[in-house]
Each structure stands twice: as structure tokens, then as C-alpha cells.
């Protein structure tokens, strides 16, 4: 393997890295009954791991690092960090 000048490589390489596997201990779970669809969790998530799927917000666990900011910020108290088994 040779490295290019400036280590410039093909685009989109971040897709290959599922940084969700850095998560340790807890993962967020959205209670869809309580969720008001305000989108605050999506705005605050530092990893853009809150996504819209099937017309509601959900957590993309491939990229969620388990920081818990969404739980802290949710004004409807609809997100809970729960223990997860690796």
C-alpha cells in the first residue's frame, strides 16, 4: 500500500466506520407514546444519530455513542438511557 500526498483518499470512507460500537453500557430508547415529535433530540445529538424513519424519530445505533444528551435535553421526558448487553 502507498499513501497519497496529504493522505487524501476516496470519498465517503466514514460510512465504513460504525462508531456506535464505541458505546459502552447504556443506549437511548424513545418512548413513542410520550414523544411530541419536537426534534430537540435530533438538533442536540452530536453524532447525528437521531434520524427520522417511518414518520417518527428513532436512534441509529450504528452511530449513537451513548452520551445521553438526548435524554437530558428531551422536553417531553420521552427518552431513557437503558442498560444494554454487548
Amino acid at each position: 500500500m502507498k499513501v497519497s500526498i496529504g493522505a487524501v483518499v476516496e470519498g465517503g470512507t466514514s460510512v465504513n466506520y460504525r462508531t456506535g460500537n464505541w458505546r459502552e453500557g447504556q443506549k437511548p430508547v424513545i418512548d413513542l407514546e410520550k414523544c411530541k415529535q419536537c426534534g430537540v433530540c435530533e438538533l442536540y445529538c452530536p453524532d447525528s444519530a437521531v434520524v427520522v424513519k417511518n414518520d417518527h424519530y428513532m436512534i441509529d445505533l450504528d452511530y449513537c455513542k451513548g452520551c445521553g444528551i438526548c435524554e437530558y435535553e428531551c422536553p417531553a421526558d420521552a427518552i431513557r438511557m437503558v442498560e444494554e448487553e454487548k
Binding site: I5, G6, V8, G11
Partner: protein, 401 residues
């Protein structure tokens, strides 16, 4: 036709940058850099300059904007001073690592605290390890020529690194001096449009600044160093090409002045070396065997040229306009490091001069030379560095050695 004008140093630099026609200019105002970008903004407002001017809220953003512009394949330029250059530091390491060839004017100014807007080279010297090529001008007309060469050097396919042209704040930026301006046609012959081999393109995405670990990071860092070392030869060729085209000759990465038969060699960079040349002339008239080597290019460090010029001398007195806290002046360290494994080399002394614009006059140079000869006659120095004109009486500690 060449045009002869007496202009402020800042305007000379702005006119050089204009001739290089950057695609993007981004900067944040800070004294004493301000007039350069002010002049460029005026040219853009008057329609004489086609560059896109990106207004930003900090030097971090200015450096980031030119990094982005350069990665997108554009020719880019910024300028800063002091704290502004320090705020750019993180970005400059990145730009050098991604091999993005923009040009910065580093207008030298002291670094806080205490705050001062006066000149020393602490700001740009603090960037010496980052991978940016550094030039230091002695005069405004040299700064003008160096900017024209800087883009060519940065964009050379064998180099591809950011280049910083450093000039002493106020002393050069705000000084009026005769400059002979080149015309666009001449500059175009010397500096062709920037044609990068790789650049960001929506149709052909690339990743810049990707993750690397121990399997390649050392190789990537080594390759920046390797490009710097190779640049020494290329820079000399480019300087020669510039000389053939314009009739303006620069001796290379260093300038040797009256070094023949010199027992004491003064080494330094920037505008104080002009004063030092006058002092050397005075001393030579009185029969004192002293000469001078001026460093035009500090990184890559041209130690081979310094060695060649200082070979027969008894002592090289390095005048550092900066200081590495807890050690000594940066160029003093550089030279001692390069000399220490040689069998036979001159004694190296380190003098700290002119911080925050403290006057470096001819009498200062006389004092340094006198002291150097005394220390040399005694054998070796008592101190690693001598702070010139240090007023020990006002030190809170009551005086250090």
C-alpha cells in the same frame, strides 16, 4: 513596463498578492497586519481584483476558509499577526498535513502576556514545527518579491506545502520605501494558474484529513519533512528563475555578507539584519573581522548554507528575536543541534534581542560583537543565552544570572 513607486510596505505586499490573483482571500483584522488586507479589500471593491473575499469572525476561521479553498483547488491567501497567528496554529498543522499550498503573510508581533503590539518574531517562530515553509524579509521590496515567489514555491508539485512570508510589523508594514512593481504579464509568465492534481469536487468526492493510526501516521509525518528537505533545492531553482525573469537576484535560503575572513559571524533574520549590516561595515572599517549571515528561509532550515558561510569563523553569534521558555532562542538551538556532531565547528552563542520592539541599533550590534569576542577568548560561554540589554534591577526575583 516596471513601475517605480514609494509605497507603504503593506501596500507593496497587497500589490504583489493582487498580481498572484488568488481565488479566495480570507482574513480577520489584527495590528499590524491590517493595512495589507484593507488594501486588498479596496482593490476587490473597486473591481480591480477578482478574488472572493470571505469575511470571518476569527483567525481560526480565516485559516479554515483558505484551507477549504485550497482543498477545493483554489489559490488562497490570508494574513495575520501575533495572537491571530497562534489562533491559526491548529489549522496550519492540518493544512501542512493535507499538503495544501496557500500563502500567509505573517506580520511579526509580540505574543501576550503582557500584551504588546510591537515587533518580535515569537509568533511565527512558534509555528516552526507545523510544516509551513517560512521566509523572513529584510525590506519591503524583498517582501514584495518573496510573496510572488511564495505562491510558486507553495504550489510546486514537488513541494505542496503552505508558505508564510514573515515581515516585521510596523518597521516594514508601515514604512514607506521605493518598490519597483512588476507588470501582470511578467508575473503570469513566472506564476502559471494553480493546477492541483487532486481537489474536492462534488462529482468526484475525496476525503481530506482522514483518520490514520500507527500503521501510516509516522510515514505521513516523515513525508512532510521529506518535502521540506527536497524544497531546499527547488526553492533555489525558483529563486534563480525569478532572477532571470526580473533581474532581481536573491542569494538563496541565506545571504552571506562580508563573511570572508570573519572571525565573528552574526546570524539572524528580519529587518534588524539591515542595521546589523551597517554595523558590520563600521566594524570592518575599524579592522574588526566580523561578517553576517542572514536567514531568508527559516523552515526548511538551511544549515548547510550557514555551515558553508561560517566554516572559518571562531564564533557564530545567533541573534534570536524570540525565546523558547525554559531553553533558549529557537535559532540558537537549531544551530547548536546541527553543529554538535561536527568535529570542527565554531563556538555558537545565543543572544536574545529586541523583544516587543526594543531597539536593536548599531550600538546593540557592537555590544553583541564585543561580548562575543570576549567570551570566545575565554573559551566557552557561561550562559546558554544572553539577554541583551536586560534590566535586571526591575526583575521581581531581584535578578537571575
Amino acid at each position: 513596463m516596471d513601475e517605480v513607486r514609494v509605497v507603504e510596505g503593506s501596500q507593496a505586499i497587497a500589490r504583489a498578492v493582487k498580481l498572484c490573483q488568488p481565488d479566495v482571500i480570507s482574513a480577520y483584522p489584527i495590528s499590524p497586519q491590517t493595512h495589507i488586507v484593507e488594501n486588498l479589500a479596496q482593490m476587490a471593491a473597486d473591481g480591480e481584483l477578482k478574488s472572493e473575499m470571505i469575511l470571518v469572525e476569527s483567525e481560526f476561521s480565516a485559516a479554515s476558509a483558505v484551507t477549504g479553498a485550497s482543498a477545493a483547488g483554489g489559490r488562497a491567501y490570508t494574513a495575520s499577526s501575533s495572537q491571530g497567528l497562534l489562533l491559526m496554529t491548529e489549522v496550519i498543522y492540518n493544512a501542512a498535513g493535507m499538503r495544501l499550498p496557500f500563502v500567509i503573510t505573517g506580520v511579526n508581533r509580540s505574543v501576550s502576556a503582557p500584551i504588546s503590539i510591537q515587533i518580535d518574531q515569537q509568533d511565527s517562530v512558534s509555528l516552526r514545527d507545523s510544516g509551513i515553509i517560512q521566509f523572513y524579509a529584510e525590506s519591503s521590496r524583498e517582501a514584495y518579491d518573496m510573496h510572488l515567489m511564495a505562491f510558486r514555491i507553495a504550489e510546486d508539485p514537488e513541494i505542496l506545502l503552505p508558505v508564510m512570508v514573515c515581515i516585521d510589523g510596523w518597521i516594514l508594514t508601515h514604512n514607506y520605501e521605493q518598490v519597483v512593481f512588476l507588470d501582470q504579464e511578467t508575473v503570469d509568465r513566472f506564476l502559471p494558474p494553480f493546477k492541483p492534481q487532486q481537489f474536492l469536487d462534488i462529482a468526484r468526492p475525496l476525503t481530506y484529513g482522514s483518520h490514520a493510526e500507527d500503521d501510516v501516521l509516522m510515514e505521513m509525518k516523515y513525508s512532510i519533512h521529506d518535502a521540506m528537505i527536497r524544497a531546499k533545492g527547488r526553492i533555489k531553482e525558483i529563486i534563480d528563475e525569478y532572477a532571470q525573469l526580473t533581474g532581481r537576484y536573491y542569494s538563496g535560503l541565506t545571504e552571506a555578507y562580508r563573511t570572508e575572513g570573519a572571525e565573528v559571524i552574526l546570524l539572524g533574520m528580519g529587518s534588524m539584519m539591515g542595521t546589523a549590516k551597517d554595523a558590520v561595515d563600521e566594524m570592518r572599517e575599524k579592522g574588526i573581522p566580523v561578517g553576517l549571515i542572514r536567514v531568508l528561509c527559516y523552515r526548511p532550515f538551511p544549515y548547510e548554507d550557514i555551515l558553508a558561510g561560517a566554516r572559518g569563523a571562531k564564533v557564530v553569534s545567533v541573534m534570536d528575536n524570540n525565546f523558547s521558555m525554559g531553553s533558549e532562542g529557537a535559532m540558537g538551538m537549531d544551530l547548536k543541534a546541527k553543529f554538535c556532531n561536527l568535529e570542527d565547528h565554531p563556538l555558537v552563542l545565543n543572544f536574545i534581542t529586541g523583544l516587543a520592539g526594543r531597539e536593536v541599533g548599531k550600538e546593540t550590534i557592537w555590544q553583541i560583537v564585543d561580548r562575543s569576542r570576549v567570551i570566545e577568548s575565554m573559551g566557552r560561554p557561561e550562559l546558554e543565552s544572553y539577554w541583551v540589554d536586560l534590566n535586571k534591577e526591575i526583575l521581581p526575583s531581584g535578578g537571575v544570572p
